[in-house]
Symmetry: C3
């Protein structure tokens, strides 16, 4: 257990683990104190997510390159996945979809933009391997087209609407997962040489844990995240209303930023160390993974968990935001160079979205 | 006649010419066997289209560079044109428009994607001259904007709607044809040097025919294609219904793939010979030609042929698909390099479209 | 006064200054001769705009690089601003918005396209610094997204619609102006080195005036432009109707081309001297400035001037046109090279817009 304790002692972020027992205790004592529970749940999820991502990396590192990459890729968005499963279980399809779309937009605009800005404030120009950025942007673009299709179809007043939509959603999920699999094959196996980092300087950001500890941590933390996520999902809507936020803002912005907090911490610190390749890989890799893997998996899981199965029909506004975020990413990452202003631009687009969602009154944005 | 017979003997594709008399005979014996007629017509059109494209090339080759290029460019989509004229004659405007949009999407996503995939399975990375790809993508983008305009206008409930639409369609046709003319001037005359192939290795894929034979073949085959196309158009809707396909799927996917079968065969074989310049030129050149030349010519012809004149107002879903296909092409061909996964991505977008069209129930997608 | 007189003698454009007293006299004699007043106002605005831009440059030149750049940037669209203020004062919000959107589209498609075409007719290939083009295209893209948001929101039938819209417009204006400020900081201060012209050959297109003369000219001409703009705004709608133009066409095309006439003259002449860096900077710089600075300033000014405050909700068709223009610019300027056909393509897209607006009957396009 020494490496885990050492890790916790060295990393102030992990001191926030104290909020895990606090939120669990509060929930059993005062289950209707929504605002307090919401704040405590957010504070507890952040360090758990950090631990989770570290444990995933440690396991991945020790299982060889291909399997490790696969593990890292599939477990990388575990926090988002667990939060979404909690929401699915509660039958909150609108929240699930908003958090999927929100995570895609937050990763491709906010996380990437903040990396470019933070890195750019230290370095005049930063370069990164654009092959990876291109691959992920292109995958995102294709996935966004897939999510556009069911939204487009909903314009027809179909007699068998529900059924057609479900058939289409299932088919698209299959396509997305297949494309995701091919992208792993491409980037980890056949064309590995394209994706070598430009500035890999050997040293890693942290010592890695023995495999046993990593696996145990993975399991324990996953359970804890699941417990806290239940509380988070149950309190977020009510708390947001008390804070004057629109439901659209909560689903898209708050949930997405909380779910991605740990990854953002890693990506930002990499950007400030001039390791922009890593930042770009985390931000865009995570976005494309949510679109091509998490979203279809959630749809399939919804047949097992939760009151009714979920389709892939998103609110048109969400599709437009994903589309704009994706095209912006494609255009911005085209050159493989970055300066602080590129970050400002991406953050500007994100701020426009956040502001618009904030002013939409309750009940306007439906899935 | 020897070269023609030799060609037929050497090319298994041309053995399918036997279906030409078969379909014509069947039509006069059993005019209501829609499913049989449909299958036979498809089987007959494919080898005819192959002959037609070979004859066009032979004529083009022997009339000097500029005129040859012009001929090749204007006759290149003769099969599509003849099928569309048959549909126009039958007053099937919805089918004509679906086949135009479908051909643009099929060429820029399916044909290009399959070329990248087939080539990429043999070669690690393939390079091509991106000047040509850019020219055609840009032309396609502009043409798509032109086809968007009438669709956008239809949102207004106009008193003189029909008339305004026809005026606009005529004006846009003029613009498109003028742009097409300029693009030929640009690529064949003033900036010919930009468009030189990167890997032209001298040998051509087939011996060419004497001019007399080529012209006669051109005329005879055109007549045959016209006859078979009439049967194809008359049977496709009914046959599709019997096979459980939506009319949107038939118009967009089936007609487009049948019309482009011969070109696809040539483009695929070029890709597998690492002659990606030729593949890209065929796929995108054909798409831009349909948008800028075939579509406006059909609109103008509709005043002479068919019961009522046709406008350029497309079903909004078709415009969105063309727009997405075009932007995807622009982004993908930007680098002038390709690997197998690029092909997978393009095919993925095409599969999303095909799947969506397949589930749309009859009567939902109108022009 | 000698330099001013010399300038007027040497430049035939300035001989048109004679129309300034003519239009003012005509207005007081025959205030209802709309068509005559419209024509005279156009003829008077063009040379005034040319003088204004020359005076601005002279002042900017003599106040040091950073302040000069700022001045040049903020006064560069003075003509457009004054015309728009006149329209705002008359409560013509639809006209104001149409002229904003029209100026963005005209600068990024017509002005840029004509520069590429005129330059390309003389030079086989022209190169320019693409850093500037990219910066402005990216800014334009972000600004277009900001203008899309209020239009998207208007689809909800909101109880407090008006109020929500005004809150959003104010917030977005703040974001846009902040982004504009950052872009000046970036291009004039922190990353100045990126934006050096490729072909700066020392000589400037005209001798500059002493500072006193420049400031006096600036003030006098601003007053004259304001007076003539009032007449222009008062007569344009009526005159357009008499000429058979739709109001959408007048606002988008006519007002935008008149307001930008002087800048266009400078940009075209630079293109023909192979100084494409300057042309691109004028065209795209002006477009991004209107989107990020003029539009929000007008919204804020509308609280002081005019009968009712103006929001930033544009007619959806206008947003689509800005979006297409912006994405086209991003794709076209990506390479930093140009030939005549690139100009034809941009002009083609502009012609499609102009033609579509021309056929829209009165009363169809509302803000």
């Amino acid at each position: 257990m020494t490496p885990l304790l050492k890790e916790i002692r060295d990393s102030p972020l992990l001191w926030m683990l104290v909020f895990v027992p606090v939120v669990l205790a509060t929930e059993s004592l005062a289950p209707s104190a929504h605002l307090v529970l919401f704040v405590l749940a957010v504070l507890a999820i952040v360090p758990l997510a950090a631990l989770l991502s570290h444990a995933t990396e440690s396991v991945a590192e020790q299982t060889g390159d291909a399997i490790g990459g696969l593990l890292n890729a599939t477990l990388g968005n575990l926090t988002e996945l667990i939060i979404a499963i909690a929401a699915l279980h509660a039958g909150e399809h609108v929240l699930v979809k908003a958090s999927i779309a929100g995570a895609i937009v937050a990763n491709s605009l906010f996380m990437l933009g903040a990396c470019f800005l933070l890195g750019g404030l230290r370095y005049h120009v930063q370069e990164y391997n654009r092959a990876g950025a291109r691959l992920h942007s292109a995958l995102l673009l294709a996935a966004t087209v897939a999510l556009l299709a069911p939204a487009a179809i909903s314009n027809f007043e179909l007699a068998q609407g529900e059924q057609v939509l479900r058939k289409l959603s299932t088919g698209l999920s299959g396509l997305l997962i297949a494309a995701y699999g091919s992208s792993l094959l491409f980037s980890l196996r056949t064309h590995k040489d394209f994706f070598a980092a430009k500035d890999h300087n050997g040293k890693d950001e942290a010592a890695h844990w023995p495999i046993g500890l990593a696996v145990v941590t993975l399991i324990v933390v996953t359970v804890l995240v699941a417990l806290v996520s239940e509380i988070f999902v149950a309190s977020v809507q009510e708390a947001g209303r008390m804070l004057g936020m629109s439901p659209a803002f909560i689903g898209f912005i708050v949930v997405a930023l909380v779910g991605g907090a740990a990854e953002m911490a890693v990506a930002f610190s990499a950007a400030r160390q001039n390791r922009l390749d890593m930042s770009v890989a985390i931000a865009l890799g995570s976005a494309s993974q949510i679109a091509l893997f998490v979203a279809p998996v959630l749809m399939i899981l919804s047949y097992a968990i939760g009151p009714t199965p979920m389709d892939l029909q998103f609110w048109p506004g969400a599709v437009v935001m994903m589309m704009i975020a994706t095209v912006t990413c494609c255009l911005v990452t085209n050159s493989g160079r970055s300066a602080w202003f590129v970050g400002v631009l991406l953050l500007l687009v994100y701020a426009i979205f956040a502001m618009t969602l904030y002013v939409i009154p309750p009940g306007s944005a439906r899935s």
